[in-house]
């Protein structure tokens, strides 16, 4: 069966104005993202990875081209529609976790669900992420790995189709980073989430269904992994 297209970028480009200079952050790019896949984006700093992620996540709009999500062109909608898109379809995971320091684990996760207008029992999500027993803790009482797991739980609690992860292991040691990657892997494989991971870390590319290499604002190449690895088999 042919994979289902979730998002399609057609000639999407983005320039930023830095003072009096126009900086091309992303040159015209074509890309198709499939439902349920793990797409790893690799590239050096300034290669356009984050710009691509921001456009896919609807926190920025392209300067040109078409960006279709489930057939809807996000490049022409207003702020309210983009907000609704992020609310209902996108879960973000950041390098520095971005948890609210004075909300407990449960409350941080519930916040994500509330924004998306979802109500329900969060215990299974927390349990599946190994956070049982930590529900009443504040972020300052958690390790980095635990904090990133809370961030993943928060993203999952929204029940998004697309999970966008910006250097999710960047602040973590190897063992904890691996644990986080396993959770993202499970999210894709067990509940069908589309996971896009930006990283500097080349070995992480081995867990992706596809690996997208970026350089100077263009997609240099896209490699398809015939047999993506389980993160437990990756080391760096």
């Amino acid at each position: 069966m042919a994979p289902e297209v979730l998002m399609e970028l057609a000639g999407v480009w983005k320039t930023y104005r830095m003072g009096e200079v126009e900086v091309p952050a992303l040159k015209p790019t074509d890309l198709t993202v499939y439902r349920g896949e793990i797409l790893v984006i690799l590239g050096p700093s300034g290669s356009g990875k984050s710009t691509l992620l921001n456009l896919m996540g609807g926190i920025d709009q392209p300067s040109g081209g078409r960006l279709l999500y489930e057939g809807q062109d996000l490049s022409v909608v207003g702020d309210n529609r983009l907000t609704a898109y992020r609310r209902h379809h996108v879960g973000f995971i950041f390098q520095f976790f971005d948890l609210i320091s004075n909300l407990t684990v449960t409350e941080n996760v519930a916040l994500g669900a509330e924004i998306a207008g979802r109500r329900g029992n969060l215990a299974p999500v927390l349990e599946s992420l190994g956070l049982a027993g930590k529900e009443g803790n504040f972020p300052s009482q958690l390790s980095g790995g635990e904090q990133q797991r809370v961030a993943i739980a928060r993203a999952l609690a929204k029940e998004p189709d697309l999970m966008l992860c910006d250097e999710p292991t960047g602040s973590l040691d190897f063992r904890t980073g691996l644990l986080v990657l396993q959770l993202l892997h499970r999210a894709s494989r067990e509940i069908g989430k589309t996971v896009v991971i930006i990283t500097h870390n080349t070995p992480i590319g081995k867990m992706g269904d596809r690996v997208l290499y970026m350089r100077d604002g263009v997609i240099d190449r896209i490699e398809t992994n015939e047999s993506p690895l389980d993160p437990v088999l990756i080391s760096w």
């Binding site: 907000t83 609310r87 973000f92 520095f96 609210i100 320091s101 509330e114 924004i115 300052s140 929204k158």
Partner: protein
Amino acid sequence: MLRRKLLRDIRSFKGQFLAIALLVALGVSMFSSMYLALVNLRDSAGNSFDRLRLADYTVHFAAAPAGLSEAARAIEGVRMVSGRYVDDVSLDIPGTPDKMHARIISRPGPGDDPVNDLHLVRGRFLDAEDRRGVLITSDFATHHGLEPGDPVHVIAEGLRRELVIRGLVLSPEYLFAAPSLDQFFSGHSFAVMFATRDTVAEILGRGGQINELAVITGPGADPAAVEQALRELASGYGYRTLVAREDQFSYRMLESEMEQLSAWSVMLPVIFLGAAVMVILVLLARIVRQQRSHIGLLRALGYSRTHIMSYYLGFALAVGGTGSVAGTLLGYWLSVSMTNMYADYFNIPYLISGFHWDVQLFAVALGVGTCLAASFFSARAAASIHPVEAMRAPAPPLGRRFWGERWFGFMDQLPVLWKLPVRNITRNPWRFNFSAAGVGVALGLLVLSGSFYDLFDDMMNRYFGDMVGYEARVNFTGPTGWDAVNEVALWPEVREAQALVEGAVRYRNGHRQYEGPLTGLPEDGRLLELRHEQGNPVSPSRGGILLSSNLMRELDLREGDTVILEPMVAGLPSHDVTVAGAVETMFGIGGFLPIEEARSVLGPGTPISAVLVITAPGSSVEALRERARDRPFVGGVQSVAEARAEILGQLDLMYAFMGVALLFSMLLAGAIVYSMSSITALERTRELVSFRMQGMSRKGTGLLVAAEGLLPAVPGLCLGVAVGYAWAAWFAAAFSSDLMTIRPVIYPATVLFSMTGIIIAVAVAQWPSIRNVNRLNLAEASKHRE
């Protein structure tokens, strides 16, 4: 280089910088304007009193030969003496509906010194031989459209005599014109006129006599000895009383106003500069936290602790300097307006309105010093950061539940988004407390300024609503008895009439004494209703005197005690009277006896002073005036409605003060809330961006920021009401005197109005923060870590 960085920091925190500068400017301008006005008022009053030689003592007695002045001048310590004859008469101004109350005073005669001299506003002074001319106080003349050359009719001793106004003058004794302490709101119905001694003698039939000595003492005079000698001198001529300059009515009114100004010029700047201190503490702590890595880098590059400390003190110096300079300029401008208003209100003849460099420099030092002191701890903390430590990322903030959540169990059930603003109190409790305190103080200030109207309105309502039951007061002149009262009662324009006797006595309790008015009222009278402190009506009855509560306090008397009443005319017997109770008098001080008892205390032949009247159905005060116009025993008819309207018309000073207070309070609340909420929003940029990225709408983040900004307003408003009541109570206690008894009253409408004003200010102050959050570029902001 550091200076350039400082300028850029100021630019990046320009909103907060301006808010602090505004608070400093307001505080400094309050100090500068009020203190300058105080200095100007003091200088102007002092200069006017000195140039016009206001008497140090005025001795009142029944009558004496004019030569008594010479004897007074021989007393050791006395430098200048002027003898004069003073009496109250009726004044009939052609074209006006009624006769008015006037005081006629003789000008110094040959050999007299120019004590209580006059300032000519228009026209000319009197020639020594002028038998028809009169000078009249300019405020009264202007109000009634009188000019030099206009005729006026003086009615005294049953005779009418036409005089011609030669000039309009200001008298140091009557800058604030009132016939007596208990009638100080006589406004424009009381005139003071000056005529040659011969003219006064002719009008009053008192040739060659004086009944007052106005005395100025020389340097080094012993006041007690001079007072004693003057009393002894006057004792053979029906000595009544001796009034020292400090107790002189105009002087006291000005002193009382200056006392108030002095208190405000300290209290208000303390509030505004205190608020500036709060904001500086919070802002600098925030800047230091944000710039930890910069500090580390600068220290690593070799900048000393002193450099770092000076850098942060430089911020305070810049904001303090900006605010102080703006404040002094604004203050000077306000002080000129205030001085002019006071000069108009008090009719001060010689106005001095200076810039006073010393006051302005002190104001600048006050503003800058406050900012430097407030920034000292943050600057020291910044300077003491270790470079290595500074370049490391700070420890993550600790999370805590809000203590109130334990008490309010329902909070657990609230959506997280609702809980978040409450929980954020715990992030920075001091900031929350500062904001609440700022809102509280601003509201307190607004409630206090609003309460001035309430206090006054309450006094007016109690006086005109509860106490005064009559429509008009028919004042008698000359030796008037019950036959005149009976005649008035029978006039067809009169439905009800009640006699009234007024005079002055000396109240004594042991070594305490007070010279004040004694009023005689019919036992069954109901047109002037006295009330106990508790509010229940009471009438004077035989065998006991009702004393105003302020007089009870002054003499340390209680109900059942005995008070000695000494007539002011020497030689008359004193009376021991039991204190029957305390009554509330809004204006003035004194005692109340049944009418005949009062007459017997005041001395044989004491005339009836006035008849209080309710007009007959279909009649009016105008008709009453028409009837009374040609009756020789009537000095004038005062309308209660007109008196009330006139008092209300004299409240410009109060309204001006309230307007400024309203504006400044709203600015205070706005500046504090803006500063705190914008600092909070700045600190939480990343967090708010994260909310937006998760799909929270602009409206959602805006509401969140607004809710967090408004939350301190809740305890702030409660605090503000309490602070407002406490200040109003302080004001009422501090400024109650024997001139008026102020009761701390705040109407609910004042509280609601004030709260609304503060809520509007707080809401408006949130707007920049909400707008900034809504304008965040998510892609850009998500790159930075807070």
